[in-house]
């Protein structure tokens, strides 16, 4: 473990804001106020994959790596829809997932919002409609905000969350 702590001290903090830095700074107060008022200080997100290629999930996982470290903004991914404020929906709303997505949405306590992630749920990814695809998702759920991209990069997802917070 000594080796690890040595390395840890040498490495320092990796979190970077890059282009978002100024934007985040500007928005920080606004976000904090909004998150505080609407979400008691923390915005809880339940991610649901309704038939993705798994890149959109990988980019959401990347949000927790030391470079992006999303939780510092008070935004968390939670394990159950019952703990969530927002459903983050990726994928093509496959025929087999549609009832489960609707179910998960029902389990989220009011007030609740849906953000769609990536081109898939908007039926804008390069897939054709088949019998097994029910996208676009707005036929089934009221979508508050859409984050486009195939997949959206972690930075684009962060920016998307900020835009969502501005909207509500």
């Amino acid at each position: 473990m000594i080796k690890f702590w040595n390395k840890r001290l040498k490495l320092g903090l990796l979190t970077e804001n890059i282009e978002l830095e100024d934007e985040i700074k500007e928005l920080e107060k606004e976000i904090k106020d909004r998150v505080k008022k609407s979400f008691a200080g923390s915005l809880a997100i339940r991610m649901v994959d309704s038939g993705s290629c798994n890149a959109c999930e990988a980019e959401c996982n990347a949000l927790s790596n030391p470079y992006y470290n999303l939780e510092r903004l008070g935004i968390y991914f939670v394990a159950s829809p019952r703990h969530a404020d927002v459903m983050l929906l990726s994928g093509l709303m496959s025929f087999n997932m549609t009832p489960h997505v609707k179910d998960a949405y029902l389990q989220i306590p009011e007030p609740k919002w849906v953000i769609t992630l990536g081109d898939c749920p908007a039926m804008q990814a390069p897939f054709d409609k088949t019998y097994a695809i029910n996208a676009p998702a707005n036929n089934y759920l009221k979508i508050t905000h859409h984050i486009s991209g195939c997949p959206p990069t972690p930075l684009e997802i962060m920016r998307g969350f900020l835009e969502f917070l501005r909207k509500i």
Partner: protein, 455 residues
């Protein structure tokens, strides 16, 4: 003989059943009147999903199978629809009445069932796991998938190869490069051309970066599932570095549309620098992680897949190599000449799969170094010829098999067998002596694709 895949296609007057082994391909024609096949599952247990899928897709009965339940078609799927039949053209179907799925369940005094999924606790793809439990101990697990089914095979029918490309590279993003390599290989078989060495190197370079990214992510998540979060920070940092290399090389973090027939003028110095620091980091990681006894207490002897069972279930990839099976599509002269050494472990447990990933990252670093070159060679493509083409590629998960039939310049049948489709069927064998709390750890140590499995 190793079983690889079994699939069916509709011909004019009959159905053709194609069975792929490592040593041969078998074809059987069956009549369209009351179509039925005999199961191979008695000899090759993992044939059963292929056969259940054939049954859903085309309405072909499996005469003597012990398991005739639908596979892809779930509780609300309209009965008597077989979407891979050529006369099925609907692009919207209505939910029918709910017909419960009969899970494999172990009964008995105080034995109970635990249903997990399809939506899981983490940021992870959907699938269902049904456990029969005696207290904490797992008696049986049934893996049930196809929640993500998008009907990729049907979607690609009638398209040109060029139109199919953006879809094929998005079947399973964590193996996108491997899918693209199979596609490119099939393309060149159809134009009767060979891939020049410089392009082969470029494709292989991307494939090894994809593998490194995938393995690094897993090294973090596997340890995290055993409660060791520091490894996740470390692994995910290195994985992000690798993804940024992919972005630099291909202008896309997952390398979508990166595999084509022209070389890029790549910045070899910056890649070499990255390789050097990655080598240092992975050595440090290994040195550090093997020293943490509480972690290996969880890894060792957990989720064991014996060699005998791995062989019986025709396993592939990291899972197979961790159980002592010598399967890797890179055992061929091109890779061997560029420094490929097959990773191998014998214990078949979570620890073995973890160590395989470390070995493979180190070997990929050596190979990438050998693949680096300055070349801008490009290949002019000839006319496509109709025909049936097969291709293999060793993705980060394992052996990928793709088959495309081209008729009148268009795709007549597209079939792909993701390595996960085989390995998922062996997952339940790893649970025999473990408790339910070990499941996430065991599952993550295999890190299979749901999207590639479900299509």
């Amino acid at each position: 003989m190793r079983f690889i895949a079994r699939y069916a296609k509709e011909l004019h007057n009959s159905f053709e059943i194609v069975t792929i082994y490592d040593e041969k391909v078998e074809r059987e024609l069956i009549s369209k009147e009351n179509p039925k096949i005999k199961t191979l599952a008695k000899r090759y247990p993992s044939a059963i999903w292929f056969e259940r899928k054939i049954s859903d897709d085309l309405g072909i009965k499996i005469e003597d199978a012990f398991d005739k339940r639908p596979l892809v078609h779930q509780e609300r799927f309209p009965r008597d629809i077989h979407p891979l039949r050529k006369d099925f053209k609907q692009i919207q179907i209505q939910e029918s009445d709910y017909l419960p799925y009969k899970y494999e369940e172990v009964g008995g005094d105080s034995v109970f069932q635990v249903a997990v999924g399809p939506i899981h606790a983490g940021i992870i793809e959907p699938g269902h796991f049904q456990f029969s439990q005696a207290g904490e101990e797992i008696l049986h697990l049934e893996v049930r998938h196809f929640y993500k089914n998008r009907a990729i095979e049907k979607m690609l029918e009638g398209k040109t190869l060029l139109e199919a490309k953006p879809i094929i590279e998005r079947i399973s993003a964590n193996e996108s490069i491997a899918y693209q390599i199979c596609y490119a290989d099939i393309y060149l078989q159809a134009t009767k051309q060979k891939l020049p060495l410089s392009l082969k190197k470029y494709h292989a370079l991307l494939l090894e970066i994809e593998r490194i990214t995938h393995h690094l992510t897993d090294l973090g998540f596997i340890a995290n599932d055993a409660g060791f979060a520091a490894a996740l920070s470390f692994g995910s940092k290195l994985a992000e570095d690798a993804r940024r290399q992919m972005q630099k090389l291909t202008k896309h973090r997952f390398g979508f549309s990166a595999v084509d027939f022209k070389n890029r003028d790549i910045d070899t110095d910056s890649i070499m620098q990255w390789l050097k620091s990655l080598k240092k980091d992975i050595d440090f990681f290994e040195d550090w992680i093997v020293d943490i006894p509480s972690l290996w207490d969880r890894f060792d002897t957990t989720g064991v897949l014996s060699l005998k069972k791995a062989l019986k279930y025709s396993c592939v990839g990291v899972v197979a190599r961790a159980s002592g099976m010598a399967v890797d599509r890179r055992i061929e002269s091109f890779y061997l000449e560029h420094g490929f050494v097959m990773a191998s472990e014998l214990s078949g447990d979570v620890g073995a799969r973890f160590k395989i990933r470390i070995q493979e990252i180190k070997n990929s670093i050596v190979m990438i170094d050998n693949f680096l070159q300055k070349s801008v060679e490009a290949l002019e493509l000839n006319q496509l010829n109709d025909g049936e083409y097969h291709s293999f590629c060793e993705s980060s998960i394992g052996e990928l098999f793709m088959a495309i039939d081209i008729k009148d310049g268009l795709i007549d049948r597209f079939f792909v067998r993701d390595p996960s489709f085989i390995n998922w069927q062996a997952l339940h064998l790893m649970m025999r002596s473990d408790i339910i709390a070990d499941f996430p750890l065991i599952n993550k140590s295999c890190d299979l694709s749901y999207a590639g499995n479900d299509l």
